[in-house]
């Protein structure tokens, strides 16, 4: 399927309050092309709660319930239970949260909803920071990255949320990227067709948060995949299947681009290059990336 073949459905209407170059709106548009309008959306505190626009207006053409930061998955559990009682089990319930609301404050409610086999789709659009609050560190922020709360660069590596999700042994999980809309579309479409809890995480390069030009969002996502900073895969029936360029990387059919190709374009890593090259930390980042892929190969080849 090519981009031109995606359905015309638009649930994000023009006039949203998103920043120029926002990856969340790309992800939302693509997601709703797959889900359609027979969907109820639960949104915790995140950029999307701003993108929606000001009361009494909205930029969404599906019912949306805003809920507290840590409560998306629990709120969605309630929506689904009520729909079941109303005989409207065919409606898709989508919890749509950022990485802060998923990796950190919302992980308990998410884990609970997955364990209870809640029939819903949870999508985390991951821009690796608390961006709505002005670029603070989250559990998804990569090592070395500047944020307003890691001024000299983050001193820890990010959590592997995908592996935490897999430990719940849910029917379907996937990792996607805004730069590959057909792939994202297919993954959301597949999630919609499966009963039970589904989790999809979308890497979402954030121009103001990562410090790059608004015209480079797609390029930044592509490079995340090509350098191995992010992997595209599906998890189904306890088996992880890599796809796209990530599959070729896993099978060593292509060489990953050096991680530097990705980070040197982002202002959040500027201190690793100026005033002088931080050889030690650049080496650590490359070695960590290589180590993660070795682990992937050990488990999934």
């Amino acid at each position: 399927m090519a981009i031109k073949d995606l359905p015309d459905t638009e649930c994000v209407m023009p006039g949203s309050a998103a920043c120029p170059g926002c990856p969340a709106t790309i992800a939302l548009r693509t997601t709703f092309k797959a889900l359609g309008k027979n969907t109820i959306m639960v949104v915790p505190a995140c950029c999307t709660s701003v993108i929606e626009g000001l009361h009494p207006n909205t930029s969404f053409d599906v019912p949306v319930m805003n809920i507290a930061f840590e409560a998306a998955a629990a709120g969605a559990s309630g929506v689904k239970a009520a729909l079941k009682q109303q005989g409207k089990d065919d409606i898709t319930v989508l919890a749509w949260a950022g990485d802060g609301g998923t990796y950190d404050i919302g992980i308990q409610a998410l884990s609970g909803a997955l364990e209870r086999q809640t029939d819903f789709i949870y999508i985390c659009y991951n821009n690796q920071i608390y961006s709505n609050t002005g670029i603070q560190r989250s559990g998804a922020t990569p090592y070395g990255a500047w944020t307003t709360t890691t001024v000299g660069g983050k001193t820890e590596f990010r959590k592997e949320m995908g592996e935490i999700i897999q430990a719940h042994h849910i029917p379907y999980a996937a990792q996607a990227c805004v730069s590959y809309p057909e792939d994202l579309y297919n993954k959301v479409k597949k999630a919609k067709s499966i009963k039970g809890p589904k989790y999809i995480e979308i890497i979402a390069p954030c121009p103001p948060g990562w410090r790059f030009g608004m015209e480079k969002t797609v390029e930044m996502g592509t490079l995340a995949v090509e350098t191995g900073a992010w992997a595209l895969y599906e998890y189904e029936n306890d088996v992880v299947t890599f796809n796209g360029k990530s599959k070729l990387l896993l099978e060593k059919k292509i060489e990953p681009k050096p991680i530097e190709d990705w980070i040197k374009l982002q202002g959040r890593f500027r201190h690793l290059f100026k005033p002088k090259r931080d050889v030690k930390r650049l080496k650590e980042i490359q070695e960590h990336t290589d180590m993660v892929w070795e682990r992937y190969r050990k488990h999934h080849l």
Binding site: I40, S49, L54, A71, S77, V79, A109, E115
Partner: protein, 404 residues
């Protein structure tokens, strides 16, 4: 499953509905029965002592088929309230129960439920807050949720728990209120003590409490965004509307109590329950189980020649300002608080004085008693009342710790 017998209890009055079952059981199992008979579509709950037998009771009704809704065993009280919010916003009747630390963990979502105008009904079993760990009763858990926008009832018997739960759904779901209701009752004193309770027939409950018809809901046929960013001027209107709704509840609570009395013959009072207030020069104010114990004290004091009556405060929110002002015009007031707003005084004591301010010359005596679950007997209550009547009581005293 639980002890049940046919017959009439001492509560049985002269209502239209003569077919009742008497169920002898603890406050929690009675609450589970009431919640089940109200037919909530969704219950989401998390266990905490001393609420556990309430959620276990509902689980038993799930097993027996009496409870036909969705029962979500969530992983925390925060998620319990969040799931109730999701369900209620989707347009169905919802119920939950908690206690103490569980209620405190819900705090953020209590505000959310009220601001979202969702008619969730919840039992809170009044339990002490730690540290140190203490599972006995006082009211500091629910008093600290005073400003969340929830209506708060305090019960003094298992029969009142049953009746108040059913009535609360009707109150919360009334379009003039559209706010959640918290039904409070004391840990162990009520939650784990068996009493005979009249249980009406299911059909009679259904007639009294029709199916919930929400004003708005999450609906794919009519997609609306709820709870997005709101500017100051609009937000202020939301708060004022909540205040108006609490005022509306002041009128509706007596109406619903009257309808219940006509149908089932039972009445526990409106916002307050008055007992022996005729000709009283002193009126004792208290909440919850102390309110029940106070009846015995009032009987004894009357026998000893004291002109004293009792006004049991049933609703802390809305606070019965008007009724209390009437009492303040009749006589002096004695307030027993099983709570303390540390750095100030008992919560009911403060509010009673505020209700009288500038409009009554009544003296108001405040006593803190029964914190940490310490027993408060009718003898204690008599001692407190006698001290107040003697005119020797300080503004606010801690019963048993100083003075008295």
């Amino acid at each position: 499953m639980r002890q049940c017998m046919q017959g009439k209890s001492h509560y049985h009055g002269k209502g239209d509905n003569e077919k009742m079952t008497v169920m002898i059981d603890t406050g929690n199992y009675i609450a589970a029965k009431a919640a089940t008979m109200a037919h909530p579509d969704v219950v989401a709950a998390y266990p905490i002592t001393p609420q556990t037998t309430l959620v276990e009771g509902i689980a038993n009704y799930v097993k027996s088929g009496e409870f036909k809704g969705e029962y979500i065993c969530v992983e925390s009280e925060h998620s319990a309230m969040s799931a109730c919010i999701g369900a209620s916003a989707t347009g169905v009747r919802t119920f939950t129960g908690t206690s103490s630390h569980g209620l405190l963990l819900m705090h953020e979502m209590l505000h959310w439920a009220a601001l979202a105008r969702l008619p969730i009904v919840m039992c809170n079993i009044n339990r002490v807050v730690g540290p140190g760990w203490n599972i006995w009763t006082d009211e500091n858990d629910s008093i600290s949720q005073r400003d969340t926008g929830w209506l708060q009832f305090y019960c003094s018997s298992n029969q009142e728990i049953f009746d108040t739960i059913i009535q609360s759904f009707k109150l919360a779901e009334n379009g003039k209120v559209s706010l959640p209701v918290m039904i409070n009752y004391n840990a162990f004193i009520l939650s784990h003590t068996s009493m005979p309770v009249d249980i009406p027939e299911q059909k009679e409950i259904d007639d009294f409490l029709p199916k919930y018809k929400p004003k708005w809901k999450l609906d794919v046929e009519n997609p609306i965004t709820f709870g997005n960013i709101i500017l100051p001027a609009e937000y202020e209107k939301v708060r004022k509307d909540m205040q108006n709704s609490q005022e509306n509840a002041k009128k509706l609570i007596p109406e619903i109590a009257k309808e219940w009395k006509k149908k089932f013959g039972r009445y526990h009072g409106d916002l307050i329950e008055k007992y022996n207030c005729d000709g009283a020069e002193y009126i004792l104010l208290s909440m919850g189980a102390i309110g029940a114990e106070s009846r015995v004290a009032i009987n004894n004091l009357r026998k000893d020649g004291f002109k004293i009556g009792l006004a049991r405060v049933r609703t802390f929110r809305p606070f019965p300002k008007e009724e209390i002002l009437k009492l303040g015009k009749q006589g002096n007031l004695i307030v027993i608080d099983r709570n303390i707003s540390v750095g100030s005084e008992g919560a009911v004591f403060s509010e009673v004085k505020a209700a009288l301010y500038g409009k009554s010359d009544a003296k108001v005596y405040g006593f803190i008693a029964g914190l940490g679950g310490k027993d408060v007997t009718y003898n204690d209550i008599e001692t407190i009342c006698k001290k107040a009547v003697s005119g020797k009581a300080k503004d606010c005293e801690w019963y048993g710790l100083e003075g008295v």
